[in-house]
Symmetry: C2
Subunit: 451 residues, 2 copies
Amino acid sequence: MTDCQGDRGNGPMELYEKLTQQGDKVRALKTDKAEKADVDAAVQLLLKLKVDYKQITDGADGEDTVDPWNVCTSNAKGVDYDKLIVRFGSNKVDKDLVDRIEKVSGQKPHRFLRRGIFFSHRDMHQVLDSYEKQKPFYLYTGRGPSSDSMHVGHLIPFIFTKWLQDVFDIPLVVQLTDDEKYLWKDLTVEQCHSFAVENARDIIACGFDVNKTFIFSDLDYMGACPDFYRNVVKVQKHVTFNQVKGIFGFTDSDCIGKISFPAIQAAPSFSNSFPHIFGSRKDIQCLIPCAIDQDPYFRMTRDVAPRIGYPKPALLHSTFFPALQGAQTKMSASDANSSIFLTDSPKQIKNKVNKHAFSGGKDTVEEHRKYGGNADVDVSFMYLTFFLEDDEQLEKIRQDYTSGALLTGELKKLLIETLQPMIAQHQERRKQVTDEIVKQFMTPRPLNFKH
Amino acid sequence: MTDCQGDRGNGPMELYEKLTQQGDKVRALKTDKAEKADVDAAVQLLLKLKVDYKQITDGADGEDTVDPWNVCTSNAKGVDYDKLIVRFGSNKVDKDLVDRIEKVSGQKPHRFLRRGIFFSHRDMHQVLDSYEKQKPFYLYTGRGPSSDSMHVGHLIPFIFTKWLQDVFDIPLVVQLTDDEKYLWKDLTVEQCHSFAVENARDIIACGFDVNKTFIFSDLDYMGACPDFYRNVVKVQKHVTFNQVKGIFGFTDSDCIGKISFPAIQAAPSFSNSFPHIFGSRKDIQCLIPCAIDQDPYFRMTRDVAPRIGYPKPALLHSTFFPALQGAQTKMSASDANSSIFLTDSPKQIKNKVNKHAFSGGKDTVEEHRKYGGNADVDVSFMYLTFFLEDDEQLEKIRQDYTSGALLTGELKKLLIETLQPMIAQHQERRKQVTDEIVKQFMTPRPLNFKH
């Protein structure tokens, strides 16, 4: 994740030239009667360039930027997620779906579902249809280990995935893309691998069941499972450079490792990548809970799946976890002031929230009492939406803040009092995670899985 | 290998356009002060396009085409190998080097060295310098298993590699690129893997020492050795799409698997890709005996090696083994009539040589007696150069044929009598190669290696 300019530093003129060239290219491909997939990919890139160009020239009226490396918007309320659903062609997690998950699982829906934090999905009804017919599915999520310190935003997919594992009683695979981080960052292979192991400790501390969870580093697992590599190569055969260019914006100057990496993030979506868990079965449906910025990888995966004889993975997409400074961008581990780390002390948490958390309150107590605060742009309130379990209490806080009865300092105090024990408990659980336990989770082995 | 048109079907106009575009691109890169590696790669592609254009417009005067997928020339004597040395920037295997190999190894040089069949090298003197100082090296060669039947031309690198293994007493790794064949051909992963195992039988039948030889399928070994994958990723990080485009001619329509594959052929050049043999040592020099068309992979490898802290592999390049129809192209397993297969019966060998082997003889016996034959373009004579051990006998055959004393039918008979027992013996040895023996060779394990 980089700042709002994107990490390719495109000026308007440069973008305009790219746009013109890509237009020429699409026409040439059509004239040459090129393969449909290539034409589609070129058109997709053209549309993306048009959107980028519109955004850069229109300023605040432009669309939000959301891809695996950039998340930003000019709106203090955060990215417009309804628009994103339309743009990405996914489906909204509506009341019907939430009710159905409640019915099928027999459990009260997680607060992330009740509050629209997991807001978008692909094929979730199909997963539930099958589950009702006693056909199990498995969960796949992941993390790119770019440092040894994770922040609270990184917990979102894991907190939700643990809930899904518990209520559906199904296996989970967690991919740590240490190879990806080596390819993208100025880090050594050894550093990335050690970050993967450290991150695994934090993931385990979320409370996953060792009998139902396999956590793997790509650098280890690629060299431990020929079936995984076979699936990587199958995906690599069925995706062209034109396609990854369209989806991820790669250029000719990118290294060949980046260009072929998307296949490695795709492969765990297919059950026979894990023969120790699923044997040779390739028909077990995969459900991927992840932040919406990872969707491009899985749009590609879903495009390839039927062509190599596998079911398409289903998805549940979450919103971003906002930076302390405001919801224009997501929390980033590379900016210490934008993040609350899982290693922060109670004092650090208090100081960061008080000093950096963007407030929707008014400038003076008098004005605040009179006009009330704006919960929609207030980062402390947003964080409470993620972490405060009690719906009534949350609603009361919203009302009191909006009316002016609750001051910014008081709201921040409520957040601090929520985060401090939550993170202290995480640190306590993490201490219990011995090297032996990490090894257990990271060893390919059979899991409890009802065939 | 495809026919002389190349498998990208470029017409002169299309090439001219490509040439113009590439020229623009090089200028743009220079103007933008792009990375040196990218500029170099773009220039390399430009030069390649110029050569291609010159060839297609000049006709017979053009240069030979030699890359991993195309070998052809308009000259019946075969590719001009001296020109190729200049073009590829390698060194000639001259009398000095052959004498030195004899001195260092204490053995009469192999006929492939005496007769200029291994005609080009990179850093061979450095390998011998180190060897004289008791620093051992290891051998790496390979094969792309595109079918279960190998032809006599495929034996050339293996016959020579076995000789090197014997005289220098060093370990050998043999890569079977079944993943490559899956990516390039209309074959399943399972087919390619089974071809790899069948080809391993033929390679073992060449007489390699099981205590000094490790044969591996990429599809197996990538999933069995994390250190191998780490080296693949290291190479992938240090090579851009621009570079592989320049070296291999890949296009935007190629699949991402092809684009990243060169890193997989590069990785066995580094000794720590084989921890079961070399432990964590990354400083052991690699020597690669291969046909000259594989050089692009290793030019790339030698470029990357110092940037990731590894020694550059040394190379010994062989000429091509000509098709029965003539030395304009190399023997190809996909054309049954161009090839003598290792499975052919004595009768098939006899028929193929008599019917298809291009003759340098005259049209009638009378003319032949009067003017003599042309050994330089005679495929039977060329094959004898590869397989007849006795230098004096070979020279006498050449003289007799050139003078007209030896008729084409008699020359063919000599070849048939050389090939029939050679191939029968190969078949006999192959029969002895049990599944158990194949498994032994293909299991990662320590080898006899004097550190």
